[in-house]
Symmetry: D2
Subunit: 452 residues, 4 copies
Amino acid sequence: MVEMGEKCSVVGLFNVPEAAKFAYFGLFSLQHRGQEAAGIASSDGEKIHLVKGRGLVTQVFDGEKLELLTGDSAVGHTRYSTAGEDSVLDAQPIFARYDLGQIAVVHNGNLTNAKEVRRELIREGAIFQTFMDTENLIHLIARSQKSQLYDRIIEALHRIEGAYSLIFLSRRKMFAVRDPHGFRPLSIGKLKEGWVVASETCAFDLIGAEYVRDVVPGELVVFEKGKEPRSIQVFEPTPHKCVFEYIYFARPDSLIYGKSVYELRKAMGRELAKEYPVQADMVVPVPDSGVAAALGYAEASGIPFEMGIIRNHYVGRTFIEPTQSIRDLKVKMKLNPIKEVIRGKRLIVIDDSIVRGTTSRKIVGILKEFGAKEVHMRISAPPTTGPCYYGVDTPTKEELIASKMSVEETRRYIGADTLAYLSIEGLLRSVGNDQSYCMACFDGDYPVEKRE
Amino acid sequence: MVEMGEKCSVVGLFNVPEAAKFAYFGLFSLQHRGQEAAGIASSDGEKIHLVKGRGLVTQVFDGEKLELLTGDSAVGHTRYSTAGEDSVLDAQPIFARYDLGQIAVVHNGNLTNAKEVRRELIREGAIFQTFMDTENLIHLIARSQKSQLYDRIIEALHRIEGAYSLIFLSRRKMFAVRDPHGFRPLSIGKLKEGWVVASETCAFDLIGAEYVRDVVPGELVVFEKGKEPRSIQVFEPTPHKCVFEYIYFARPDSLIYGKSVYELRKAMGRELAKEYPVQADMVVPVPDSGVAAALGYAEASGIPFEMGIIRNHYVGRTFIEPTQSIRDLKVKMKLNPIKEVIRGKRLIVIDDSIVRGTTSRKIVGILKEFGAKEVHMRISAPPTTGPCYYGVDTPTKEELIASKMSVEETRRYIGADTLAYLSIEGLLRSVGNDQSYCMACFDGDYPVEKRE
Amino acid sequence: MVEMGEKCSVVGLFNVPEAAKFAYFGLFSLQHRGQEAAGIASSDGEKIHLVKGRGLVTQVFDGEKLELLTGDSAVGHTRYSTAGEDSVLDAQPIFARYDLGQIAVVHNGNLTNAKEVRRELIREGAIFQTFMDTENLIHLIARSQKSQLYDRIIEALHRIEGAYSLIFLSRRKMFAVRDPHGFRPLSIGKLKEGWVVASETCAFDLIGAEYVRDVVPGELVVFEKGKEPRSIQVFEPTPHKCVFEYIYFARPDSLIYGKSVYELRKAMGRELAKEYPVQADMVVPVPDSGVAAALGYAEASGIPFEMGIIRNHYVGRTFIEPTQSIRDLKVKMKLNPIKEVIRGKRLIVIDDSIVRGTTSRKIVGILKEFGAKEVHMRISAPPTTGPCYYGVDTPTKEELIASKMSVEETRRYIGADTLAYLSIEGLLRSVGNDQSYCMACFDGDYPVEKRE
Amino acid sequence: MVEMGEKCSVVGLFNVPEAAKFAYFGLFSLQHRGQEAAGIASSDGEKIHLVKGRGLVTQVFDGEKLELLTGDSAVGHTRYSTAGEDSVLDAQPIFARYDLGQIAVVHNGNLTNAKEVRRELIREGAIFQTFMDTENLIHLIARSQKSQLYDRIIEALHRIEGAYSLIFLSRRKMFAVRDPHGFRPLSIGKLKEGWVVASETCAFDLIGAEYVRDVVPGELVVFEKGKEPRSIQVFEPTPHKCVFEYIYFARPDSLIYGKSVYELRKAMGRELAKEYPVQADMVVPVPDSGVAAALGYAEASGIPFEMGIIRNHYVGRTFIEPTQSIRDLKVKMKLNPIKEVIRGKRLIVIDDSIVRGTTSRKIVGILKEFGAKEVHMRISAPPTTGPCYYGVDTPTKEELIASKMSVEETRRYIGADTLAYLSIEGLLRSVGNDQSYCMACFDGDYPVEKRE
């Protein structure tokens, strides 16, 4: 029930007949990573075609629009939130004509030196028609003196910093890149004679592709007709993979960084049970994201798992509020505890994070109002004390409750009987105990500085 | 994952300021009972106002339309499917002017003698402007010679047969009725000074009402300003409550017939485990409806519960299909197994029913393709061998796989290693072992005959 | 530029393959008679199909919806304004099932005894689901004891009073009726093997039908397969044909009551020139409705005709108004004088009527502001002193400027140099000098009383 | 009834509170110059805001969107046709951030060296994100070394060729420019303390601005707070003003190049009457564009003017066509002759041009079918023999009937009894007989070469 948002998902198809339609279904699988805008660019070998717009994938595209997107390669994008008044301008793919022809690009991540690079490019005479970091990249590529696109991409990558999982589409090739830290995921799959690249492997499952491997941090993969994909290790990998993908963002049926999200979430729950056991009658997840961790907690603790809170998935936007107002309307429209299950019971409630604390406070309030005897909140991640600069839409540090309150203060604020967060060590144990993860939002150790 | 559909939900509010807005949120909670059309009628004491249309509750209504629905009483409706070309005509509430003034009615259920009554009414000169059974009722009320509306309602109820949970709204009163069999649920709640009636209690939770009791089968409850609700037992109750409400239709966080849906679903799972145990590595629900039964099965069997199949809730209508088609597209857009969880494992898969068999066949197919070693299908209900005449949109008898194939034949058709259904006795034990349920779709014992 | 509105247009097709599509184009031609709602019902011989909704004909219907309307007979309707919150309910055709089968009806006009009949029907047990007068008719037909539909229609017609041009569609026949006064027009055309009935003959031109004759006041025409249309003179004709059809409502390219609207409008202009000559530099119409009369005035007076005011046809609804407001915004969005043409000139401005006077006042104001030296307003109809009860949406008597101000007072109010209205005699001379017209809105002589 | 399309209209407001709302009404007046897309950018002094989209002005904007467009300066645009799949990308204004801050631009016209300039800019590293010529200009401005925006605009103008009426909006200033030939119109008006610039003066009339003068060919006008507009004559004027603005594009109530469109159209009609008189019963315009010329013809010839063809303005897109097809459906949906007026008559039909000849052929066909005895087609412009490179969307030379058929051949093709075009000399006499007009589409004398 995190209130943070990943900014996007990307998908690419190469050498797949009707590539745009497969991109459409790929994006449909990745819809949870962005609901504000969607777009697909395809290439028929001679020309790049583009359709993008506001809304869900199924709202932006219909059969007629997909018919326009001819060709057997395509890149697609879903976007979480778009600032500014005319968000269509800030949807992706970005398309441009430049000296080597035509190019489209999709980007998941955030460049930490975007402003700096933009200022420099603007100083050199570039114009920026969108508010997206990604526009920098096309300028850098267009201004490069190299004759080959992949050389230009490499040159451009050396100018940018931060988080990027990128797919470039030219008229005849496709290029997939991951930043040296590998902040955001990007996987490669095989679909008959062709190739698929996507933010999460659940996209492969729907379209029937086979997961092959991840794009390695710092790697550029070049897809070209009649050749095997070519790998160029542009940077030495210094992995700082976003651990929040496991905690919250990714679908549990995806592999992220080659590992099952569901399995790791269960492991976090088990660790949490070991670190912060408590006497209780049942383990209840905040659905949907808390389910796997709660199963892990239940397994390790031997306390029964119960789906004690039900999620209503028919959530549309509603701006209607009776003047005689309904208490906690927004949370209640999504979540409803089962009174008969929780009444008089001691609950261990598993959520993936506490951001501002307001939602958790409401959930605890409703549970108590519905008769829960005790509410022991267990968070399957460490306290979020800092914002993310690498592609996650977090509130400012000031808004993060864990940056200004102790755990005990937070417990009192949200009204729980006890509150505990998974430790950083516990989290590391859950996800494989290697040192390859970015934990900056928990420990403030930012692998790449944000520059203004 | 049942492919049957309940036809509707109803909600009524009396003596509640901004009644229509509360009806809106009530219908939002009941959206799972009908997504095709929605409507609300309100009374300001002098005039009844009406808005209805196609689509989800959040699509049919906006703030402007709700502003039109003034007054402190209201009735609302969501509809599952609408036949015919211009479905707005077949949305509810039905509104009419008649000799006692104005009336609006909402109906969950199906009248078994609707055609007969209609023919008779038509013979007497009535005209039918919709294709809904409910229209009969208003004609009967309008033609009655009684001077009081409640007397007329009672007279009308004596002419109709079948399933009906009804709410009538006149300019100053509201009337809630349940047929003598109590086929469909209908509960009463208290909201401050006013009253709420709804198909399921989850509607009470969202708007902050307190569950009081069910409308008794055969009872008419009259709501009038300045008086306590008045109960008239129109018919001797001969309860035949729809057991499918527990199996599939209702939200697990609702009370139905006064009992927790979630708890009874778990009980069905436990019974199923006792009746049809099998050696396996994990119990996996077909989400969302199979979750509670799977938890019960896991609990009783001691076999671990795993959310091995993930449901994508961003399901929109899509008419797009690549010519190079994606296998099992429709099922895969909704459900995706987690390969890493199920690979090489023996699964007990819990679903609530098998209707035509095609979906089950696809689910088993995908599970096997994703590496499941064994798939043991367990259904938390008996085989569905007959259609429902009491308000559930079932396929014809010919289309029901259980009406033409033995369990073994069905098993072979869907490709499972074993297949078992909960017995009728097991089901009865789960839901309280009394004789008050309608089991017609399982045992062919129809409490009210369907007349053509 | 009249601010009154005709309530509707009707069209019917019989024995024409793809009847609904022809109805669609017929309604497109009649769009000027009603922009709020549109609908078509068709019969395939076994079943009547219906689609209706809010908006223009091209907005309510698309190819998919027209495909639903199978069969070779159809009736259609456009509606001017719809009261109440849910106007779809008050769109036509009205469809009903009754003892003789299925029926759909479309109606142009207003019944003067609608309330009385409704009260009586309600007393007999009828229910009214719409707010349209027309619903009465179906009840009367359904309650009749006659065995033949045409007998029932005749019986029903004897119970109603007022204005009606009606088309009934049963599964195998079509019936066209005009009230004994013939208040509203209704013409019959031939289309290959089939027949067309429409409010105006311009509908025939588009679909390629040949005008045959008008339905006679008091006549019922029965269309049946394999037979010639059969005429039944239900009532002695006592013609009181709406003269406003000539003045304003009808398209100039239509025949109304068998005569060219354009020609009669020119004749009114000529009469006006004879009755109220004035020295001036040019004759300028208020477009579009004033054009033909202005041509007549110019012809008779010898004063040059100029299109000195231009009409912007891109009128959409706009609710936007700068706080720093634009003077006379609504009139200016529609009409703009040509400064260079009118500056310093003496204008004779021809309009078809003055209703409340506010629009005329604004037009005169803009003309003067743009430099007109003199504005002589000439109205091609007598002063409108009373409301219409026969199907025209007029303001109340109190709102009609001519009912409370003398011509001289009106002149001063609108700011014209002179003002003159065509006399009733002049109008009669223009339209043929027979006594067959309803002039009630001019002379208060209502041929049928309005009963409450 | 020309089938060519002007590509756009532009409007600019400076120092006008709620500038965007005035831009909205200005664009509403100019809607005839482009119906495919519309957009407005406003500046609040600190930031430029932008909204654009597909559709009519009233469809793209609502009150909520206009609220976003704060500030007291604004530029707006309507677009005739947009190529490519995602036309939002090709709507204007174009907005960019560059080294001097933020800029928005709107453009009416076409650059003849757009490809050449773009190639050069691309060679220098520029990227093009749209398919509009206008994007070149922002690049040129951004790349300039000058420190002042107006110096940069001037520098940029020296690099481009062709037709351009441009308005630039920076955060604090506005700039209006017309190319040295003055191909497209651009007028300046005064609105209280502020200024308005627009393609046609009819926009001034609606919003209450006063026409001051035209932007002179080759002039740049700088609008700055607290100062009078400053004029810079960037180029020596070599006027080649588009004469088609008079013939067809502009509204008759506009001043174009300081002269009344209506008056000049009448003059063309008079010339045509002198050059090509014919014995006939009436002069009939093809509405709406042929009306003024027909009035002129009638005046000069003494033959009566009649509105013998009526235009239906409810034209929506329709993709519906009965299989039993309606002859000449598209023309008939727009135009309908009045049978009673033309039957047995010798008609002089006035149209403004013949492009492909197909529409004229259909019009003549319908007139003859409706009984016209003779049809003498008179065109108020010379034969269109070549395409336009200066902002008009013409068919290719091959599609222009006058480029491949003689007048006599054309006459036979369209089926008229006689056919005559206004001579180039006659046209010149009508519009003032100076040498300042572009006649390239008639005489092939292109003032600026098109470069590929």
